[in-house]
C-alpha cells in the first residue's frame, strides 16, 4: 500500500495574550496508507482534533504550526497558499464534523447539500453528482435512495443524517476522509448502523480515513492503526489488533479501564438495608404524561403510558432506553416540571402536587434534579460559592460562617479543591462543572436525586470518575438515585434496579441482575447486544444476529395500539402484537416483562 498522508514530527502551539507560545501538539508522527483507517484516540484536550484538522492545512484560531510537516502525497500542506488549500479541502481531503444535525442547513434539500461541494469544485456536473449521490445512498444503505435527495434534513433520523454527512464527504471521491467523533452523540443501536455503513463504504471506495474519537471500543471495530494521544504526545502507535489486545503503554491501559465492561449480571452495587423504611422514597403510579393540551386525561402527544415505578430508600434505579423513549419526560414529571395528565407521584407515601408551583418548599427540597448539561445548568455569572450557597440558604436557612463551612464540605464531597469556591463556572473543565452540578443538588440534602444523563456529555475517563463519585456519595448519604442514561453499561455498573423504557412504556423492570440475565424482553436483548465490545471483529458478528437485523435502523414510534416495539421485534406475532396491548408478566426470576410471549416461550 502506498502512503497517502505522512504526519512528520508535527508541532502546534497556542499563542496567548502576551505572545507566549504554549505547545498543544508536541512532535506527533504517523502515516496513513491508501484504503486504511487510522484512529486518533485520547481524552478531550489531548490534541486529537487539532492533529486531524492539520491534514486540511487548518488550525483553529489562536493556534499555529510551529514545526514538522504534513505531507499529502509528498506535498507539504502546511506551507500551501490559500489557492492550493482551496483545491485541497473538500476535494482531496474531506471533513466530517461531529454533529450532523448542526451541519445540515434545514432550508435546503439533502440532495443539494450532498452534491454542493463537488459541483462547486467542478469535479462533477450537477447530473453526474446526483447520480453519484444516489449511488452513495445505496452504498450507505439509506432508505429510498432515489427520492432521498428531494427530502429535507428534518425528515430523516439522526443516524441517517450522520450517514448523509458521509455521503457529502465522499461525493467528490476524496483521497482522505477526516471523521471527528461521528458516532459519539448517537444511541448504541444507531451507532452500530452508522459504524457498519462507514466501514463498508470506506472499503468500497478505497479511500483512507482519519477517525477521531475517545471511545476505544468503537475504534476497535473500524480502525487498522491506532494512535493513542495524551496531552499532545503520542503514547502508543500500532495496529488495532496489537493496541487493543496487547496494550503496551500505561495510558492505553487506563483508557481501556475506563471503557465500562459490557452489561452483564452481577455488576450492580450492593446497597445496605439500613436506610430502608416502610414506604418507598418515591413512587409513580399509573402515570400518563405528555406534551400539548390535556383533553379528557390525555395530552395531545402522549409520551408516557401506564408507568409504574417505585424507588426504595437508598436504592438507585436506572432508567434506560433510546432517545425518544420518554426517559427525560419521566424525570421531568417526578421533578414537577411537567404535570402528569393521569396518575400520581408519591413521596414517602404522600401524594405530591403535580405542578412545581403548588409543591411546598420541603417537598421540593426532597427531590432534586441534576441537569444533563453542566455547561448550561450553571449560571455563568455566579461564582461557585453562590451557586452552592443558594440552596443551603433557600432550603436550610444557613447563613454566614455555617454556610461557608457547608460549601467547603460539599466541595470536598465532590472531590474538588476548596479554592474553586471563588471561581466562575467557565473557569472549570466539563467534569468539574458536572461535579458542581451534583454538589448543588446535594446541597439541599435531598432524599431522591434525579440524574438525567449526567455523564453522557463527558468523555470516558472523566465519566468513569463521576460514576465512582456517585457510588461513593450514595454510600455516604443514603440518597436514592434515579439514574437516566442511554448507555446500558453505565447503568449496569451503578443501579440496583433497572427500568427499560420503550416508546413511553415500561417493557421490563426488575433488579439489575434479573434484567441483565435471560429471559430478556426482545428490546432489552437488542440494547444489550448493541453495546460495542472491546475486541476486533465484534461489529461483523453482531450484525449477523437476528435482533440486529430486525431492530437496527428503525426509529422509536409512539403508538396507541398494541406493542410499540412490534415493527422492530424479531419475534413479533402478527395480529396480536400490533393489535393488543401486551400483558405484564411476572417471571419466576422476579422481574416483570411486558410482552405477549409467555415465560415458556422466552425460555426457547
Amino acid at each position: 500500500m502506498s502512503v497517502l498522508l505522512e504526519v512528520d514530527d508535527l508541532c502546534i502551539s497556542a499563542r496567548n495574550d502576551d505572545d507566549e507560545l504554549t505547545p498543544i501538539v508536541k512532535g506527533v508522527s504517523f502515516n496513513v496508507a491508501r484504503g486504511e483507517v487510522v484512529a486518533l484516540i485520547g481524552e478531550s484536550g489531548s490534541g486529537k482534533t487539532t492533529i486531524a484538522l492539520s491534514s486540511l492545512g487548518y488550525t483553529k484560531p489562536g493556534l499555529e504550526f510551529v514545526g514538522g510537516e504534513v505531507r499529502l502525497e509528498g506535498e507539504d500542506v502546511i506551507t500551501m497558499g490559500a489557492d492550493q488549500l482551496r483545491g485541497l479541502r473538500g476535494q482531496r481531503v474531506a471533513y466530517l464534523a461531529q454533529s450532523a444535525a448542526a451541519t445540515f442547513n434545514p432550508a435546503l434539500t439533502i440532495g443539494e447539500q450532498v452534491t454542493e461541494t463537488c459541483v462547486l469544485h467542478g469535479i462533477l456536473t450537477q447530473k453526474q453528482a446526483d447520480e453519484r449521490a444516489e449511488f452513495l445512498y445505496r452504498a450507505l444503505e439509506l432508505p429510498d435512495p432515489d427520492l432521498l435527495g428531494k427530502r429535507y434534513p428534518h425528515q430523516v433520523s439522526g443516524g441517517q443524517l450522520q450517514r448523509l454527512m458521509a455521503a457529502t464527504a465522499l461525493c467528490g471521491k476524496p483521497d482522505l476522509l477526516v471523521l471527528d467523533e461521528p458516532t459519539t452523540a448517537l444511541d448504541v443501536t444507531t451507532q452500530i448502523e452508522v459504524l457498519k455503513a462507514f466501514k463498508s463504504v470506506i472499503k468500497q471506495e478505497g479511500s483512507a480515513a482519519i477517525y477521531v474519537t475517545h471511545d476505544l471500543s468503537v475504534v476497535a471495530q473500524i480502525a487498522d492503526h491506532i494512535v493513542v494521544l495524551y496531552a499532545g504526545e503520542t503514547q502508543e502507535y500500532g495496529s488495532a489488533e496489537q493496541v487493543v489486545s496487547h496494550p503496551g503503554h500505561d495510558y492505553t491501559r487506563r483508557l481501556m479501564h475506563a471503557v465500562r465492561p459490557p452489561p452483564a449480571a452481577g455488576q450492580g452495587d450492593e446497597t445496605s438495608g439500613k436506610h430502608r423504611r416502610e414506604a418507598p422514597a418515591l413512587e409513580v403510579k399509573d402515570l400518563v404524561a405528555g406534551y400539548g393540551k390535556v383533553k379528557g386525561g390525555k395530552p395531545a402527544i402522549t409520551v408516557l403510558r401506564d408507568v409504574n415505578v417505585s424507588i426504595e430508600r437508598g436504592h438507585s434505579v436506572g432508567v434506560i432506553g433510546e432517545s425518544g423513549c420518554g426517559k427525560s419526560t419521566l424525570a421531568r414529571v417526578m421533578a414537577g416540571l411537567l404535570p402528569a395528565a393521569q396518575g400520581e407521584v408519591l413521596l414517602d407515601g404522600e401524594p405530591l402536587k403535580p405542578a412545581l408551583q403548588q409543591r411546598s418548599r420541603s417537598d421540593l427540597q426532597k427531590v432534586q434534579f441534576v441537569f444533563q448539561m453542566a455547561d448550561t445548568a450553571l449560571n455563568p455569572r455566579q461564582r461557585i460559592d453562590h451557586i452552592l450557597g443558594r440552596p443551603l440558604e433557600f432550603y436550610l436557612g444557613l447563613k454566614g460562617k455555617e454556610k461557608r463551612r457547608r460549601i467547603g464540605e460539599l466541595l470536598q464531597m465532590v472531590e474538588l479543591p476548596q479554592e474553586f469556591a471563588g471561581r466562575y463556572p467557565e473557569e472549570l473543565s466539563g467534569g468539574q462543572k458536572q461535579r458542581i452540578n451534583l454538589a448543588r443538588a446535594l446541597a439541599a440534602s435531598p432524599e431522591v436525586l434525579l440524574c438525567d444523563e449526567v455523564i453522557s456529555a463527558l468523555d470516558s475517563i472523566v465519566g468513569a470518575n463521576v460514576i465512582e463519585l456517585l457510588k461513593k456519595l450514595r454510600k455516604q448519604t443514603g440518597v436514592s438515585f434515579v439514574f437516566i442514561s442511554h448507555d446500558l453499561s453505565t447503568v449496569a455498573s451503578f443501579a440496583d434496579e433497572i427500568i427499560v423504557l420503550y416508546a413511553g412504556r415500561v417493557v421490563e423492570k426488575g433488579t439489575t441482575d434479573a434484567v441483565l440475565s435471560p429471559p430478556y424482553h426482545p428490546y432489552t436483548r437488542l440494547l444489550i447486544s448493541s453495546v460495542p465490545e472491546l475486541r476486533v471483529g465484534w461489529l461483523e458478528e453482531t450484525m449477523e444476529t437476528q435482533e440486529a437485523q430486525a431492530g437496527i435502523d428503525r426509529v422509536v414510534t409512539l403508538t396507541d395500539k398494541g406493542c410499540p416495539f412490534f415493527d422492530r421485534c424479531p419475534r413479533a406475532i402478527k395480529d396480536t402484537c400490533d393489535q393488543e396491548t401486551p400483558p405484564v408478566r411476572m417471571l419466576s426470576s422476579g422481574h416483570a416483562i411486558e410482552c405477549h410471549l409467555s415465560e415458556a416461550e422466552f425460555a426457547q
Binding site: A14, N16, D17, T22, P61, G62, L63, A335, G336, L337, L356, R359, R361, L364, Q368, F369, F371, M373, T376, A377, L378, N379, P380, R381, Q382, R383, R390, P391, F394, R404, R405, I407, G408, E409, Q412, E415, Q418, E419, A421, G422, R423, Y424, E426, E427, R440, A444, K472
Partner: protein, 313 residues
C-alpha cells in the same frame, strides 16, 4: 481511605479561602484609552464649562472688542469672525463667542441625552423583561403596542408631538426621546431575556422553587447586563444625534440656550464666508460619539476575546 484523610480539617481549610476571586482587569487597547480620555474631558467640561467660559452663551459681543488698534474702522463686523485672541474659536452668526457656546452647550447636549438614555433604559428594560418572563398575553400586548410605536418614523413622531405641545420644553424633549428609544431597548431586552429564560440554569432555579423576583434579578439580569451595556453606549450616541437633529430642525433646545446641534444649524450660512462656526460644534459631536463607540467596541471585543483565550489555555 483517601476521603478520611481529606476530612481532617475542613473548617480551617475553608476559612483560609480568599473571599473574592482575583480581580480581572480589563486591558484596554490604545483606541479605547483615547476614547476614555475624550469622554472624561467632556465630562469635566459638563461640570465646569460655564465657570471657565470667557463669556456667557447668550452674550452678543461688543463691536469695540474687535477694533484693531491703529485702524480707523470704528464699526467692524462681529459675526463669523475667524479665531483670534478675543474669540479663540471665532464668533457665530450673531457675533457670540463659539467657545463659550460650546462650553455651555456641553451641559445641555450631554445632560439631556444622558437623562433621555437612562429613561429609555428604565422603560425599555422593565417592560422587555416583563414581556420575557410574563404570560403569553402580556408578551403579546406589550410587543404589539411596541411594534405600533416602532412603525412610526422617530423624527416624525417627535415632530408631531412637539408641534402639538406648541412650546417645547426640555423635560418634554427628554420624555419624548426616552419613549421613542425605549421601543428599541424593549426589543433587545425582551429577546435577550427570552433566551436566558429558557436556559437550564433558570429551569434549575425554578425547580428549586425560586420566585420570579429572584429569577429576574439574580439569574436573568446579570446575564444580559453586558450586551445591554454595549447597547447603552450606542443608544446614547444615537440620542445625542437625535436631539441634535431636532435642534437642527428648530424643535429641540430653544434659543438663546446653546446646544451643539442647533449651533450647527444656526451657523450653516457661515460656510459661505469660510467661517469655522458650524464646524466646531460638529467636531464636538463627532469626538464624543466616536470616542464612546471606541470604548464600546473595545469592551465588547475584550469580553469575547477573553473567553476564547481562556478556552485555549
Amino acid at each position: 481511605m483517601s476521603d478520611t484523610s481529606q476530612n481532617t480539617n475542613p473548617v480551617t481549610q475553608f476559612d483560609e479561602l480568599p473571599d473574592a476571586p482575583p480581580k480581572r482587569k480589563i486591558k484596554l487597547s490604545l483606541p479605547g484609552k483615547i476614547g476614555i480620555g475624550v469622554v472624561i474631558f467632556w465630562a469635566i467640561i459638563v461640570i465646569i464649562g460655564p465657570t471657565i467660559s470667557p463669556y456667557h452663551e447668550a452674550d452678543i459681543l461688543d463691536e469695540e472688542l474687535f477694533i484693531v488698534p491703529g485702524s480707523d474702522e470704528m464699526y467692524p463686523d462681529t459675526d463669523f469672525q475667524p479665531p483670534s485672541k478675543i474669540v479663540w474659536l471665532g464668533s457665530d452668526y450673531l457675533g457670540r463667542d463659539t467657545l463659550s457656546r460650546i462650553l455651555f452647550g456641553a451641559r445641555t447636549t450631554i445632560g439631556i441625552s444622558l437623562i433621555a438614555t437612562l429613561l429609555a433604559y428604565l422603560i425599555g428594560v422593565t417592560l422587555g423583561i416583563a414581556a420575557a418572563v410574563g404570560s403569553r398575553f402580556m408578551d403579546m400586548a406589550l410587543s404589539r403596542v411596541n411594534d405600533a410605536l416602532l412603525a412610526i418614523p422617530s423624527i416624525m413622531f417627535a415632530l408631531v408631538v412637539i408641534a402639538a405641545l406648541n412650546s417645547p420644553t426640555i423635560p418634554w424633549l427628554i420624555l419624548i426621546t426616552g419613549i421613542i428609544y425605549a421601543c428599541s431597548v424593549f426589543r433587545i431586552a425582551r429577546s435577550l431575556g427570552q433566551e436566558v429564560m429558557v436556559s437550564d440554569f433558570v429551569e434549575a432555579a425554578r425547580v428549586r422553587g425560586e420566585g420570579l423576583w429572584w429569577i429576574i434579578t439574580r439569574e436573568i439580569l446579570p446575564n444580559i447586563a453586558m450586551p445591554l451595556a454595549t447597547d447603552f453606549g450606542l443608544r446614547f450616541v444615537w440620542i445625542i444625534l437625535f436631539i441634535s437633529s431636532l435642534s437642527f430642525l428648530g424643535l429641540g433646545v430653544q434659543p438663546p440656550a446653546s446646544d451643539w446641534g442647533s449651533m450647527v444649524k444656526e451657523n450653516l450660512p457661515g460656510l459661505v464666508y469660510g467661517s469655522f462656526a458650524p464646524l466646531i460644534p460638529a467636531l464636538a459631536i463627532a469626538t464624543l460619539t466616536i470616542s464612546i463607540n471606541m470604548i464600546v467596541d473595545d469592551i465588547s471585543a475584550h469580553s469575547g476575546g477573553k473567553l476564547a483565550k481562556r478556552m485555549i489555555s
